[in-house]
Symmetry: C2
Subunit: 358 residues, 2 copies
């Protein structure tokens, strides 16, 4: 595991304040879709006031609802990844795994998916079929069924081949209460495996770069891994899959939602050599690179070893490690201890370093 | 109420066969999104084999599922209407009403929505905000809450301002079993009000046409109307909202799913004067023009008068009329008795007459 890219600026967390939000941005820019500060502003300033309800304001990866006596998780994502096919997966895989993982991050067992396609006039039916098959196979692998769907077509020049939006529903077991607000000082921060693979896989094909070894996306369903964790301990505070904006965005969201601080140890963050090399070459920080088959868990320190053992016994969590802890200091802020004995702030990204990663 | 456009071909149903499907269409064309034969082929030849499960194959407007002891309806639609704002509504209204109506057509009480936006780089944030507010207001009017969402951004030239995909969940009351397969000879066919308004409203603004009076879309939530019908009788066989492809597409789907025939009386189909004029001018048949706030109900003839009275007592069903009946003859086929004493086949449309109507 390589070290993270060298920090260009070392900041004392005690003297640091969050940058003011970019209010009154009049035009949508690519960064609004990046899962960082701009995305959060759009949600907080446009969508939440427009819809106005407490469930949405909770801002989890999925909503948890009581309906007809059942405790349901409900989530949606649109997938606009480019290219449609990449090492390790395709739009069809992401459209399943992204949504089932959002459900799983509330502790739910994903059950059913909807799939709505927006097709661009002129795309080959064979391409649509290939994506639909990948989606069907990914659903089977994730243990969910695609039960309803829709297709719209837009004129050539108003799409990009295929966009897919999935929504998912699942059941949250009784007693499970997993959400970003529940992070507490003393929690161990566990990452389920090496980070940065999905983002680097997309970059390598999109930019035509060769990093010596082929890097494949980590796209995978995580509900079984979550079930294994919950079988090891009922005391899981937070789960999150660090997709757009990477581990940095997920940890910042958790820190802000819970009013706690997060402290990472740089040397413990699992960055594969190929990811480190690619990031060095491209000037990126692996903490900000998207993952599609990893989760970060906050669990009380006494339960951490059991959780770690349960993860490592599962194929999707074989590389699980404790990367840091939740602290009472610098609430809402994520810092990383560097190999040099310094500390740097890991801020919320403004947008994604590479748009249309998922 | 004006008569329908004069049929150009009179066909004897006894000597008529369904056109062979257009297999091996190699490229997606606009008609694949039109809700007609091309859409059905895409579902039957591409999506259903790829996902392979019985719920999807039932091809209702929504899936009905047992989950955690609850009987859930689950549905999704993408909305790519152009323009974003039109007389009577906007993309935001359609994104709510279209999905809650799909739920309501299984007899469900819609409860919660997800809303996923695909934004085109460069669109004004104020436009997004206007659509989000319309969506929030429409949700409130429909009695549902928007509980989860997503935003993606695509480069300028790969979208059309704003696309929205909503998914919805609702509860199906015990004992309710409403689906296209349940149509039976002897059922009365009831339409809840005048047809063709949504399609003509979109056409008039898109083509810059002036039909003398402004035609406003009928976009509206229909769950309350459905509840009123179900309070009048438990014996409702089929409900359908005739959106893309109009009444013609919905009736053809019902006839095929149930293996029955449908016979309409042209003079009883409620076509507003302005719709008839616009259709005459544009060479369209009102039976094929989209609606967004109407439903068609199949109920046993003995219950029809009660259902009609219940509909007429509700603002959304004030113009309800019986337009025909379900018959044992010409199974899978819809025919209309013309004012001249003749009969013509109302075939499934190939695609929508005007793309991106919803």
């Amino acid at each position: 595991m390589a070290e993270l890219a060298d920090p260009s600026v070392l900041v004392d967390p005690a003297n640091w304040t969050c940058p003011a939000p970019l209010r009154d941005q009049p035009i949508v820019v690519m960064g609004h879709g990046g899962g960082g500060t701009l995305s959060a502003e759009l949600v907080e300033q446009v969508f939440t006031p427009a819809y106005g309800n407490a469930t949405l304001a909770a801002l989890g990866d999925s909503a948890v609802l009581d309906l007809g006596g059942a405790r349901l998780a409900f989530s949606t994502d649109s997938y606009v990844v480019r290219p449609l096919f990449f090492p390790g997966g395709s739009l069809g895989d992401l459209a399943v795994n992204g949504t089932v993982n959002d459900l799983a991050m509330s502790g739910a067992r994903p059950a059913h998916l909807s799939a709505a396609f927006v097709l661009e006039e002129g795309v080959e039916v064979a391409v649509v079929e290939r994506i639909a098959r990948a989606l069907g196979q990914a659903a089977e692998a994730a243990g969910v069924t695609v039960v309803t769907g829709d297709t719209k077509v837009v004129e050539a020049g108003h799409g990009d081949g295929v966009y897919v939006t999935t929504a998912g529903i699942g059941l949250v077991p009784d007693g499970v209460d997993i959400r970003p607000q529940r992070a507490r000082p003393g929690d161990a921060v566990i990452v389920s495996g090496p980070i940065g693979l999905h983002g680097v896989a997309i970059m390598s094909v999109r930019e035509g770069l060769d990093f010596g070894v082929e890097v494949a996306s980590d796209t995978a369903p995580l509900a079984d891994l979550v079930a294994a964790v919950l079988a090891a301990t009922a005391d899981v505070h937070v789960l999150r899959d660090p997709t757009r904006g990477g581990l940095a965005a997920s940890l910042n969201e958790i820190a802000r939602a819970s009013g706690t601080g997060v402290r990472l140890r740089e040397r413990d963050v699992p960055v594969p050599e190929a990811v480190a090399n690619a990031c060095g070459f491209l000037g990126l920080d692996p903490l900000y690179v998207a993952n599609e088959g990893r989760l970060v868990a906050f669990v009380p320190r006494p339960a951490a070893d059991e959780v770690l053992a349960a993860m490592r016994a599962h194929p999707r969590g074989a590389g699980a490690v404790i990367v840091g802890e939740c602290v009472a200091e610098h609430p809402g802020m994520v810092v990383v201890s560097t190999g040099l004995g310094g500390t740097r702030v890991v801020d919320m990204p403004l947008g994604e370093q590479l748009p249309r990663i998922c």
